[in-house]
């Protein structure tokens, strides 16, 4: 099974039915898989904070939600994570492509990469880092943890995890 399907099956097995995405080259396959899965309502967002608003609404409507986005978006979503998702205590799995790591061809991506974990740590977001494909074995437990504790949780997925460019 491809790693894209492992991720999407993990969401579906944990009853995540509403997924918003903002694309990244690394995430193309997993976004396609979300779009194609019959048990997922896939709603592309124009910006990640908008997507977090959609997820908050879906959660209050009784559907488990998740966001798929790039790590650069941490820079534009801190206010939303703090004053919406955390303040109202809502669960939000964030599957994040960790650009700017080993194998990165675009120099500018390294600029946000060096801040990504520090920013997530600063706002007390539990953070996991998938580097090898076997790291996805923990995905199910991470989702269960997210819905147990009602917190946003970050899963950083780097180029090595997705199999390079």
């Amino acid at each position: 099974m491809s790693v894209d399907n492992v991720i999407i099956d993990g969401f579906v097995n944990n009853k995540v039915e509403f997924i918003t995405t903002v694309p990244c080259k690394q995430l193309g396959g997993v976004i396609d898989a979300a779009e194609k899965h019959p048990d997922i309502y896939h709603i592309p967002s124009n910006k990640e904070d908008e997507g977090m608003g959609l997820c908050a609404g879906a959660f209050m409507g009784g559907k488990r939600s998740a966001i798929i986005m790039q790590n650069t978006a941490i820079g534009v979503t801190i206010n939303t994570l703090v004053t919406l998702t955390q303040y109202y205590r809502m669960p939000l799995p964030m599957l994040i492509s960790y650009r700017g790591e080993l194998g990165e061809p675009v120099a500018c991506q390294a600029e946000m990469a060096v801040h990504t974990k520090a920013l997530l740590a600063q706002i007390n977001i539990p953070t996991y880092h998938f580097h090898k494909q076997s790291d996805a074995d923990e995905f199910d437990k991470i989702l269960k943890y997210t819905f147990m504790c009602n917190k946003p949780v970050a899963i950083l997925t780097d180029a090595s995890f997705w199999g390079g460019y």
Partner: protein, 187 residues
């Protein structure tokens, strides 16, 4: 008419309607005029009322009203294409357009100048966009909630504010009682 006049007139109509209230004065006015567990008050996060409301409308069956403002829609302009392309016929977005950032002291917005949010919404692909005068807003909202079509209403009113207390209710309490209301309406 200013925004608080519209909210006062609207309160009895939307008593049991799931209502997402925009940050700042719209939430504070709704809370002061007629606090209901069916109201979700935004205490922070400018711009996301319409997105929260859309996610809510797509996830369940009850009607959802969002009371938004022109400044907040301008902040999150990307919301309008998302709304247009993900039709939820239980969703009514009321943009109270007073041409100003009311909660921060009535600084003018571009919606009060050359930018028409009605035309922006239409250009984004929204099908039922109604621009109305402040005085007609309650009837337009009533009709929209009675219908089964996703509707965007742009209510043109004057700028100005009344004195209202801040909301001291805990956000988790707001969220919890709101979710219980949502669940009861969908039972």
């Amino acid at each position: 008419m200013i925004r608080s006049d519209i909210i006062k007139e609207l309160a009895s109509t939307i008593k049991d309607t799931l209502t997402v209230c925009n940050i700042g004065l719209p939430s504070q006015e709704m809370h002061m005029i007629d606090d209901q567990p069916s109201n979700f008050y935004m205490l922070g996060t400018m711009g996301l009322a319409s997105s929260i409301g859309l996610g809510l409308a797509l996830a369940q069956k009850s009607k959802v009203l969002v009371i938004d403002g022109d400044g907040s829609v301008l902040t999150n302009m990307g919301t309008l294409p998302t709304i247009a392309n993900n039709v939820a016929d239980n969703y009514v977005l009321l943009i109270i357009d007073n041409g100003s950032y009311g909660s921060t002291g009535d600084q003018p917005t571009y919606a009060g100048k050359l930018t028409s949010l009605t035309k922006v919404a239409e250009a984004c692909g929204c099908k039922n966009v109604i621009e109305c005068k402040a005085e007609d807003t309650v009837q337009v909202v009533k009709d929209a909630l009675a219908g089964d079509k996703m509707t965007v209403i742009v209510s043109k009113c004057e700028s100005g504010n009344i004195k209202v207390p801040v909301i001291t209710m805990d956000p988790v309490v707001i969220r919890d009682r709101f979710m219980k209301t949502v669940a009861a309406q969908n039972a």
